[in-house]
């Protein structure tokens, strides 16, 4: 059991604040993102619980709480809050959450360069078709066509998410990795739609 840095009271693993003396504890980098928020590890997650836990933790640990504290305490508060924000961002996004779980399970990301590019020709074809449609819509500044492409991509994302949720019961890297990769492609495509719109704004 870890001990409080100030009063040596025994603390539950992952404790940020000592229940005995109220002193902020050093951040432990080995804590998983789930543990940082006090959530059970798994792909299924309740978004309301994620938000509630994040806000509760930030309320107690945010640097604003320690504006008058010594530099070391401020530093710890900064590290805790940074990690809570990271947990919120990663776990709040189903793709990043899935890849985080994949990494913890298989020791590497499904989306890193070492995974190579897409090999499935069907998938490649779909990606090329999407690209062409985007170029056409962007070329004539067709907002409604862009909106439709965006809606389609969102629908495909939801399908993949369901497939991933079904696949995590018996995790196999060769089943899950391609799903996450296609998901990643859809994300890039959505970002390109945004970029096109943004260029209109700047122009």
């Amino acid at each position: 059991m870890p001990e409080c840095r100030a009063c040596q009271a025994e603390l539950a693993p992952g404790s940020a604040i000592c229940t005995q003396c109220g002193v902020l504890q050093p951040f432990d980098p080995s804590l998983s993102l789930f543990a940082v928020l006090g959530l059970e590890e798994g792909f299924a997650i309740d978004p309301a619980a994620l938000r509630r836990q994040s806000l509760d933790r930030l309320r107690a640990l945010h640097p604003d709480r320690f504006a008058q504290a010594d530099a070391a305490t401020q530093r710890q508060s900064l590290e805790w809050s940074t990690r809570i924000n990271e947990a919120q961002a990663v776990l709040g996004d189903p793709l990043r959450r899935a890849d985080y779980l994949f990494t913890r399970h298989f020791g590497h990301s499904a989306l890193g360069e070492e995974m190579g590019s897409l090999r499935d020709p069907e998938l490649l074809m779909r990606q090329m078709e999407r690209r062409e449609a985007l170029e056409e819509a962007a070329g004539i500044r067709d907002q409604s066509a862009l909106d439709m492409l965006r809606a389609q991509a969102h629908a495909e994302e939801r399908q993949i998410q369901e497939q991933v949720a079904a696949a995590v019961a018996q995790p196999r890297a060769e089943r899950i990795a391609p799903l996450l990769q296609e998901w990643q492609y859809l994300r890039k495509f959505l970002a390109e739609i945004d970029q096109n719109e943004e260029q209109w704004d700047f122009a």
């Binding site: 309320r59 640097p63 604003d64 504006a67 809050s81 924000n85 961002a89």
Partner: protein
């Protein structure tokens, strides 16, 4: 010992339990300071009852300094030494001023790095000019709150980049303020609305200041203020409207007037005045004095004004759409639009903003005050006075990136990421035995290095010498709750911490800050001298008045020689009052007291006699 004690004894104020903390809105045109008293935020006023301090500093030829209204009054007469709108120069380089050069009549010192202005007091950086404004506000706060400040929350435009934020923090440091937090202006405004008006839901804060524009989308829910997205333009503001009007006036009088800085200043002030009048009236005119000394006036209709300024207002709409897109929000989902900044008083602006968001904007809280009031609430909470349920979650306004091969930028932390945030990136060496490397950090959204703001170059030293590619240097970019970047580095294999040296592109390094602090300490010494002189003068006046009133009543108690001695001491005191020497004042006051001892003694005896008249000694001793 004193002649006669007039003042009540020991009226010092009791030590205050409440920690004194203030919120400061350091604005382009005006600055103000607010605090929370009896759970209510309020702005603090100067001795004349004014709360808006014009953000103008005059470095006078006689080496004195004026700040605020008095400096602004001199702007036209002394344009080179009277610095206004300095916020537009914060954290900027001399070469970035091209767009502003025609507008600002200052003498900019050529060179690399941050802007320097040539004034009657030598070269001044925008940081130093801002520090003078902050110093006045700090003084105002300490006088009206009666004590030293625990700290201050200073607001910055949400869209300020790292260099601009750091410059603001440096200015506060120079002014002797302890910065509790840098707070985004729209977030501050939301805080004032959320706590004062009990607003909940999704809000768009439309903040058009003198020189900056920000649009922030916030979710307000039970004490949580969560910034979802922010966008803006750090070089767009109400000043731009003034300049458009000024150009019209200048061309109208082109044949009667030269382009002297004094004339330009006068025209700029006139332009602002007529813009403000046309927010209330359909037509208005302003009086001008031509360089020839001849009086002239210039007339304008609101319709005409609106046709000139509409493009400025429309320029704010692209950032509005960008923020909505980043937050994934449609305009109709928004529960309220809050207007902040003096420029939002313009009726056309209110109309166009209402059209954009499909609802009438709110302006229940004075748009000039709302930011300072929100900052005061945050300062109060940070000083530990109350409000444990309050939580502000802000974002990084502009993406952070690193220079990579071919002059391109690789983004490491995208814009609108909640702060604090950290990102680690691994680098390796490309030569055997390499022990140092350099990293160029940029901020902005564009792909090419030259299209973004250069923040700093970090050189890493002390990397353990290994074969090429074997060292793995993990560089961590940490953005804190103020939105400020800090870089640390470590070699992963050996755990050796690399030394990080920062060379800010448009900032002050630690050495410059230390030097300026030392100078401001000397300044502070002068301030202390000034105060001691003022106190000595008050004391000398008090002695003189007491003496005069004692002489008026009881001069007959003295003989001629005694009276002569007192008169001599009195004229010495009057002489000292005409001078500026603390020592002379104190000496003369002591001299009067000494010469008047005999008078004090006789008056005392006389008073005792009067009191005892008609009473026997026995009566007194029984007491």
């Amino acid at each position: 010992m004193a002649l006669l004690q007039i003042a009540e004894p020991g009226q010092s104020t009791a030590p205050h339990e409440h920690r004194l903390a203030v919120g400061i809105d350091l604005g382009t045109t005006h600055s103000l300071v607010a605090t929370v008293r009896s759970a209510q935020p309020e702005v603090l006023r100067d001795a004349q009852g004014r709360y808006l301090l014009p953000s103008v500093v005059q470095y006078r030829a006689d080496s004195s300094l004026r700040v605020g209204e008095e400096a602004r009054a001199e702007a036209a007469a002394d344009p080179h030494n009277t610095i206004a709108s300095v916020k537009r120069l914060m954290g900027r380089g001399a070469e970035e001023l091209q767009g502003l050069a025609g507008v600002l009549p200052y003498r900019v010192v050529a060179g690399e790095g941050l802007v320097r202005l040539q004034t009657a007091h030598g070269e001044k950086t925008p940081v130093e000019v801002s520090a003078e404004i902050l110093r006045v506000l700090r003084q105002r706060a300490e006088e009206s709150l009666g004590g030293d400040l625990t700290g201050a929350v200073i607001t910055v435009p949400a869209y300020f980049d790292d260099a601009q934020r750091q410059a603001t923090k440096d200015a506060a440091h120079l002014a002797g303020l302890s910065v509790l937090r840098l707070l985004a202006e729209p977030t501050a405004a939301a805080l004032a609305y959320g706590l004062d008006k009990g607003a909940e839901g999704l809000f768009a804060i439309y903040d058009l200041g003198g020189g900056t524009f920000d649009l922030s989308l916030l979710r307000l829910q039970k004490g949580v203020f969560e910034v979802l997205a922010t966008a803006g333009d750090a070089a767009l503001g109400g000043d731009d409207m003034d300049h458009l009007i000024a150009e019209q006036i200048l061309s109208h009088f082109a044949e009667q007037a030269d382009n002297s800085p004094a004339w330009q200043r006068q025209v700029l002030l006139a332009a602002r005045a007529i813009k403000e009048r046309l927010s209330e009236l359909e037509e208005a005119s302003v009086e001008l004095v031509l360089p020839s000394g001849e009086a002239a006036h210039w007339y304008l209709q609101r319709k005409q004004l609106e046709s000139w300024i509409e493009p400025v207002i429309r320029r704010t709409f692209a950032p509005c759409r960008r923020a909505l897109r980043d937050a994934g929000i449609r305009p109709e989902e928004i529960d309220g639009v809050v207007l902040v900044g003096g420029a939002t008083r313009v009726p056309l602006l209110r109309k166009l903003v209402a059209e954009l968001f499909g609802r009438e904007p709110l302006a229940d809280i004075d748009p000039d005050q709302v930011v300072a009031l929100g900052a005061a609430i945050q300062a109060d909470a940070l000083a530990g006075n109350q409000r444990d349920d309050l939580l502000l979650m802000d974002v990084l306004p502009l993406s952070l990136g690193l220079e990579t091969m071919g002059g391109l930028v690789e983004k490491i932390i995208p814009r609108n990421t909640p702060i604090p945030v950290a990102k680690a990136q691994e680098f390796t060496t490309f030569k055997d035995g390499q022990t140092a490397m350099s990293i160029h950090v940029l901020q902005g959204e564009r792909d090419k290095v030259e299209d973004n703001r250069s923040l700093a170059r970090f050189s890493l030293r002390g990397i353990p010498p290994l074969v090429a590619g074997a060292a793995r240097i993990r560089v961590t970019f940490q953005v804190d709750a103020d939105g400020l970047l800090e870089v640390s580095a470590e070699e992963v294999g050996t755990g050796v911490r690399a030394e990080v040296q920062v060379k800010p592109s448009y900032g002050l390094d630690d050495e410059a800050i230390t030097r300026m602090l030392r100078e401001s300490m000397d300044h502070a010494k002068e301030d202390v001298e000034q105060r001691r002189l003022a106190e000595a003068r008050v004391e000398a006046e008090r002695v003189r008045e007491a003496l005069d009133s004692a002489l008026a009543k009881d001069a007959q108690l003295l003989d001629v020689a005694e009276r002569e001695r007192i008169n001599l001491a009195r004229s010495a005191l009057l002489h000292a009052l005409g001078g500026n020497s603390v020592a002379a004042l104190n000496r003369a006051a002591e001299g009067v007291e000494k010469a008047a001892e005999v008078l004090v003694e006789r008056r005392m005896n006389q008073a005792v006699h009067k009191a005892m008249a008609g009473h026997s000694i026995e009566e007194w001793s029984e007491k």
